[in-house]
């Protein structure tokens, strides 16, 4: 290992990633890079994203080839200061021993179920730490929407991510399809797992659920962090909601899913197939319809939680993609009077995935 010769390796995004395909190099040999600069675009089964430089320096060797799949931890490039001689880099590479390909190192099953009054709820648990985070997905999503975040934060916090009723592998039906009913589910989840209080992180409808939970039980909620949150205004892209519910084929649903991201190219075949598999479970379309009719009655958001949340005094960070096509960024902007607001440029409705590094830093800062 050399201090002056920095390795760029295939990253591991989420617990299940085993390999990734390089689709494009964004730098070439000789480019000077700073920490955080994007080096290469990588596509995995679940998502496409960019590998960022963790060191500053000059890109001295590019080893990974475009359109080739490499296992996690494979050496893809070398960054070193311009002053490091080529012969030293050659020597490093000649002596380089690739790390052993991980053979299912984490066979630990992170998923469990718990039976609540509403029915069976699936959830994932990660990490350990004295502070607890609970991740709440949005309409039509599931706990795996948070894969880039749970893996990035598991070394600092105890983390739970659950499938709401009607979603993922949880019970497909509601006792109460409103934000209040969902908040009750979160509280009964916390009761069942003996979680006294937690930091809630919510995406879209999940953001509104987080705020509602705080309003109903302020002593149980330490802070709230939201991404593209509902509950802060009246507008909702109902064409997307209706289209998501009504589509039953790849061709039909793809254009709607593309609306979720700033870069439509992030919608992979695997993502589409996983969503169709979920939608084809019995009772899912009816459940989603009932939920949409309750939470987005008449094509508008049914509840504005601003005043009630402000009154709790609970700290909040509201993050929103500037290019969000589902819920406008202006809704989070208007939360300035009671929340820390971060509007991310070049980002759509899935900011927690599209800008996961910034997202994780903001989540950690709010929860600490």
């Amino acid at each position: 290992m050399s201090d002056t010769i920095k390795q760029v390796v295939m990253p591991k995004w989420g617990l299940s990633m085993k390999e990734g395909k390089i689709t494009r190099w964004l730098v070439s040999e000789g480019t000077t890079v700073g920490v955080g600069d994007e080096l290469t675009e990588v596509e995995t089964e679940k998502i496409a994203s960019a590998v960022e430089a963790t060191d500053a320096g000059v890109v001295r060797r590019i080893l990974g080839e475009v359109d080739t799949i490499y296992p996690v931890k494979t050496l893809l490039a070398i960054i070193a200061d311009a002053s490091v001689p080529d012969s030293e880099i050659d020597a490093f590479l000649a002596a380089y021993v690739p790390p052993a390909v991980e053979e299912d190192e984490e066979v630990v099953d992170v998923y469990s179920t718990v039976t609540l009054p509403v029915g069976e709820i699936r959830y994932a648990k990660y990490g350990s730490g004295d502070k607890t985070l609970i991740f709440i997905h949005g309409f039509g999503g599931d706990c795996d929407n948070w894969l880039f975040n749970t893996s990035g934060l598991a070394d600092q916090f105890t983390i739970y991510a659950l499938d709401l009723p009607g979603h993922g592998r949880s019970v497909k039906g509601f006792t109460d399809a409103s934000l209040s009913g969902m908040a009750d589910v979160i509280l009964s989840f916390m009761d069942a797992l003996s979680i006294d209080s937690a930091n809630l992180i919510g995406h879209s409808m999940g953001g509104a659920i987080s705020m509602k939970t705080a309003i109903k039980a302020p002593k149980r909620v330490k802070s709230v962090t939201t991404f593209g949150s509902a509950g802060l205004g009246i507008d909702i892209n109902m064409e997307y909601i209706d289209g998501f519910i009504g589509s039953d084929s790849r061709r039909e649903i793809k254009p709607f899913l593309e609306q979720l991201f700033f870069d439509a190219g992030l919608v992979s075949r695997q993502m589409i197939d996983d969503i169709l598999k979920y939608k084809r479970l019995d009772h899912v379309p009816e459940s989603l319809r009932e939920l949409a009719d309750t939470v987005f009655t008449g094509g508008k958001q049914s509840e504005n939680l601003v005043e009630a949340f402000k009154a709790t005094g609970i700290p909040m960070t509201a993050i929103h993609g500037a290019d969000d096509k589902i819920i406008p960024a202006a809704h989070s902007e208007a939360a300035k009077s009671f929340a820390k607001v971060e509007i991310l440029a070049g980002t759509g409705h899935m900011a927690q995935m599209e800008k996961s590094k910034e997202a994780n830093a903001l989540i950690a800062a709010q929860a600490k």
């Binding site: 084929s249 197939d273 479970l281």
Partner: protein, 335 residues
Amino acid sequence: MARNLSMKDAINEALDLEMRRDPTVIIMGEDIAGGAGGQGEEDAWGGVLGVTKGLIGKYGAHRVMDTPLSESAYIGAAIGAAACGLRPVAELMFLDFMGVCFDQIFNQAAKFKYMFGGKAQTPVVIRGMVGAGFRAAAQHSQMLTPLFTHIPGLKVVCPSNAYDAKGLLIQSIRDNDPVIFCEHKNLYASMADVPAEAYTIPFGEAAIPREGKHVTIVAYGLMVHRALEAAETLAKEKIDVEVIDLRTLSPIDMDTVIESVEKTGRLIAVDEANPRCSIAADVIANVSENAFKALKSAPKAITAPHTPVPFTPALEDLYIPSAAQIVDAVRNQMK
């Protein structure tokens, strides 16, 4: 959680969930319970390979019926029962046995809706084992999908994995037309992540288990797995293979195949059936007619030879199309 289930168990689960949901769903076939006529357990067999085990205990002998050794009688009865309001799932233990009941299937069930001007509905599912590699010899190993696919009025389904098997069988039971549901005996033990809940998969929708840009391989059933093995080998040679799993042969998803060939320009169709009038031949003819300009090389069919399935293991293994054959064909097309 990955809920790993075998295809055999996924099929049992599909039958169980539908029988629980809908009292008009009944199952019938030779030894599907397996205890009638003998002393002791009602459920001695649960089907010759145990696929229907446990169902008679849950639903009773009036809904889980052991039939006499007469396909023409009980397949005919299932079809008649379907026309009269039940939703029978009848088992043709080996699809090879269709010979003695084929009139019931192709002249009666397939044509009732048409000949009675829409007044008759025949929601019957006929499920049966297909495929070679089991050392079961010529009369128990065929892939007769082309014979059923040829008949208008029949739907033909052949899943390649446990997840698809459960969803497609539930879809078949809920469908109001006669469905021939093919279960590859060599895939019964294959495992996949299968949700506990009921779900459906539409007919006429192919799956794409592997995306690629150099060549399109169309397959179904066991051959999907051979194509995927071949694709792994070819990836090391930087050849990027797209594998399409047809899932249903009738209706067939030619749109996905055409879209793929328009991207890759090369087509290989792999089929365990014999070559004349095979599914492979059908796919190639359709692509040649509808996407000719996109083709960079002649489409290739890889099928079993024009012989019955051999009994001696060495010959049976040569009979079934192999990953190596597929790899060779792709390399030839890429020249």
